[in-house]
Amino acid sequence: MRTYLLQRFLAGMVTLFGVTILIFVAMRVLPGDPLAMMTSESGGTYVLTEDELQAARSALGLNRPYYEQYGRWMLDIARGDLGRSFWREEPISDLIVRRGPITAQIAVAAVLLSWLIGVPIGILSAVRRNTIVDYISRVLVIFFVAVPAFWLALLVVLGGVLIFNWRPSLTVVQFWDDPATNIQMTLGPAIVLGLGIAALTARMTRSATLEILHDDFVRTARAKGLRERLVIRRHVLRNAMLPVVTVSGLALGGLLGGSVAVERAFGVPGLGTALVMAFGQRDWMVIQNLVLLYGVVFTFVNLTIDVVYAALDPRVAFR
């Protein structure tokens, strides 16, 4: 087991390295000198002279050879220096500390929601196979898999506006500052994203449960006379969890990506909207380090999934 975990960890590190290389390559090919854009979206034209451009360029280290730039970047990250937003001179770590909790909140809530909704529906659907309950849940599942999350978000906002005359809040409010407003802000996106993942979870749970229901050990339990509910709880559930965990891991990727569009639709001031704004303004440093953050988070989540999976199914480690 330990070697397996070590293996996975090392593989994760290598993957992380690959991630940084990928980002580095992508950002250096960036067309349009980021320093050429001296017009901020709100203000007048601020024109830098050639000298100032050169100064900025060397300050950012854009003149150095690639390997040096890469090394410098990695060192900075290791030291916790995530650089500054070019446009706002704001340290990116501040940005992450302020907006990260909002995005994280939404992601965690979405995953929890997906378990709470998806698993029961999946099991129910499998146990009551081919009944009306099954059909309804399968229709719902198919629908929510296909629906784009950001459209659902727009619909929710539309509904809120037209029916309740409610509009999303404009400023960041952390949970510990003002729970009521914070929940208002994060609940919508969490539900919308959660439903999408719940659908996938339900689907996965259903097929996993069906497989297990026909497995030998379940038949044995039934033959022994164990009540159906106990059968499900004791034997089926545990084994159905495995694919659920896998799906959740994969879903997290979709979540991190989809949350960008959903945040934008709701107007939530999270990391996703920061990324989109940075993209629009070609705020190079922000794009680079935020994407890195997403990549790192995702890699670690995958690692965690692997570990959890191994814990749930020891066979994995010995394959």
Binding site: A36, M37, T39, E41, G44, V47, A274, R282
Partner: protein, 619 residues
């Protein structure tokens, strides 16, 4: 076993069956879709009846021009700059005991006239984008979130709608007989937020930094102070500006929101570069917090030299890039006011008179189409004049009306001094609604220039922002094509990258909002955009005649003669047409009825600036 195995034979067949389908289908789509790339602009039968292109979304342009364009519009009968003997209302008494209520403003103490101000509360402004590249106003930081912490030497009166020039840090001033020397007597007992006392040295340091910045420090305001020869401190309470030539716009330039006074201490301590942090000011509000892309927070300055102001305890500026978000914020009560809301929210606000008040104030920013005077057919001024005559401004306004209010302007805002009235402009060729004679004349000019049937395709460059890409650019292209047969190909690039194109001059036509002026008097803009080699002369227009006119204009000190020169200039420009002005915009502020003291509905021009006279009528 292998060659003729039924498996491989059949599967190859299946392969060959599916591949063409998989490739052919998308290929057909490809061919069809590629045709769809450029807007065809063909009008299907029932779609007629509405003038085709041109309406721009207002978010970007309004916000862009706003900070740069805060200047007194002097259309109403305000006095321009002080002549030799300062007119009575501009000279304060020297007593510090405060004058009678009527002349309170004369001492620079602004008092609201819409009721008895109540104290306290938080004023929340849905400001627009509050992101700023940095915090140094003299190096181009976004003005409206920063200006609250500072004072100028002089400013326009907030309580009479920005009509009168009143003292700010300069309690009174005198001008020499030859109009070259302006002496400012500074207020006593003023302190910066960090406790440093305010003296003439601070004025000198601030303005010297603008006039001759140290290395590594940009100075975006320098060109506006071209007329200044030097600044000096006569004594700790007196600063003097010596001009190179008399200037009618000098005092106005000093009054615009970006011309704040920084402390010498802050300048020295930071090597002349105040970008990193909000430097202490003398203003009514003290900077408290800034969350990038979200909110600025200011608190009341209890030591402000005007003991009565400000009335509110806290000032918040919320980042709302979208115009409609700003209006919505006011409508839903998430904000108390906005400098500029979207048309639909503004109209809604108009309906809700019991909660909201709205206004429309002229701005000093224009929508333009820059024509590259150095390239191709556009280099011929007959072609340019033809375009000016043929393009229908009214069509463009109709297209744009859901984005922003937009009006005619003849080489300056309709609210600038020297501008004809909107009615008068609306009678002139090129500007008038009835295009028949103008188009005929335009066609003649095109024929003379050798393009009787138009020419093209030439490239029409525009930002990817929806107002430009979906409205302004297509409408303009359609007008050109329909009236004169000029074919254009629209190319979209990100707004931030457009500046490279300006500088390189690699465009034919560029649709942008590039004709802004920081003050009402458009002399500054004429110098920037129209003088040979001007810093913003993107069209690369060059005329010795016009340059000479500009010289006279810059040195003129008689308002009547200035007006005549403007008239001459406008006539000249209508003939030479360096670029096309589609229209000048107005801003649509909205505020909740309990916000008082700013007199936004009486303002003669837009200023996104200080708000220390605001008070909240709380129950």
């Amino acid at each position: 076993m292998q060659r003729s195995s039924p498996a491989s034979r059949v599967s190859r067949r299946r392969f060959l069956r599916t591949v063409p389908l998989m490739v052919g289908g998308p290929a057909v789509l490809l061919g069809v879709a590629c045709r769809q790339q450029a807007p065809t602009g063909e009008v299907k039968p029932p779609a007629a009846g509405a003038p085709a292109p041109t309406s721009g979304a207002g978010a970007a342009p309004a916000a862009t021009t706003a900070p740069a364009a805060k200047s007194p519009a002097v259309a109403p009968p305000a006095a321009a700059a002080p002549p030799t003997a300062a007119p009575p209302q501009l000279v304060a008494t020297t007593t510090t005991s405060g004058a009678a209520a009527g002349s309170a403003a004369a001492t620079g103490m602004m008092r609201p006239t819409d009721g008895t101000p109540k104290r306290g509360g938080t004023l929340r402004i849905a400001g627009g984008t509050t992101t700023s590249p940095h915090f140094d106003l003299h190096q181009g930081a976004t003005v409206h979130p920063l200006t609250h912490a500072y004072n100028n030497l002089v400013r326009k009166d907030l309580t009479d709608g920005l009509r009168t020039l009143i003292p700010d840090l300069a309690a009174r001033w005198e001008t020499s007989a030859d109009n070259l020397s302006h002496t400012f007597h500074l207020r006593d007992g003023v302190k910066f937020h960090d406790g440093t006392p305010f003296t003439a040295d601070d004025v000198v340091a601030s303005f010297n930094r603008i006039l001759s910045p140290p290395a590594g420090v940009a100075s975006v305001l320098r060109s506006q102070l071209d007329m200044v020869e030097r600044v000096e401190a006569v004594d700790p309470r007196t600063a003097r500006f010596v001009l190179k030539h008399p200037s009618l716009i000098f005092m106005e330039v000093l009054s615009q929101p970006a011309m704040v006074v920084y402390s010498k201490k802050a300048i020295d301590e930071n090597g002349g570069d105040l970008r990193k942090a909000v430097a202490p000011g003398t203003g009514a509000f003290m900077f408290k917090d800034y969350k990038a892309g979200e909110k600025w927070t200011y608190v009341r300055n209890p030591e402000y030299w005007d003991k009565e102001l400000p009335y509110v305890d806290t000032l918040e500026m919320i980042d709302t890039p979208q115009l409609s978000d700003r209006g919505t914020a006011v409508l839903t009560g998430q904000a108390d006011m906005t400098w500029n809301g979207s048309v639909d929210t503004w109209k809604e606000g108009q309906q809700r008179k019991d909660q909201i008040t709205v206004a429309q104030i002229p701005n000093f920013g224009a929508h333009t189409a820059h024509l590259n005077n150095e390239r191709g057919p556009l280099g011929d001024k007959r072609v340019r004049r033809a375009i000016h005559l043929a393009v229908s401004r009214q069509n463009i306004f109709k297209a744009y009306e859901n984005q922003e209010p937009i009006f005619l302007g003849r080489w300056m805002s309709y609210a600038s001094p020297g501008s004809p009235t909107l009615d008068e402009i609306g009678k002139l060729p090129g500007y008038r609604a009835d295009k028949s004679a103008d188009i005929a004349e335009a066609k003649k000019l095109m024929a003379e220039a050798g393009h009787p049937n138009g020419f093209g395709p030439i490239e029409l460059l525009s930002a990817t922002a929806p107002w430009a890409a979906e409205i302004m650019a297509p409408v303009f292209a359609d007008e050109l094509q329909r009236t004169l047969g000029i074919q254009t190909k629209i190319r979209l690039i990100e707004r931030g990258l457009l500046i490279e194109e300006y500088k390189k001059g690699s465009f034919d036509i560029l649709v942008e909002t590039q004709f802004a002026c920081p003050i009402a008097d458009y002399t500054i803009a004429w110098n920037d955009y129209l003088k040979t080699g001007g810093s913003k002369n993107w069209s690369r227009y060059s005329s010795k005649e016009f340059d000479a006119l500009l010289e006279n204009l810059n040195n003129e000190s008689d308002p009547a003669k200035q007006k005549a020169l403007f008239q001459q200039g406008m006539d000249h420009l209508d003939q030479e047409v360096p670029f096309i002005i589609t229209g000048f915009t107005a801003h649509s502020p909205m505020w909740r009825n309990n916000v008082k003291g700013l007199v936004l509905d009486k303002r003669v021009y837009v200023e996104w600036g200080r708000a220390e006279t605001a008070w909240l009528d709380r129950a």
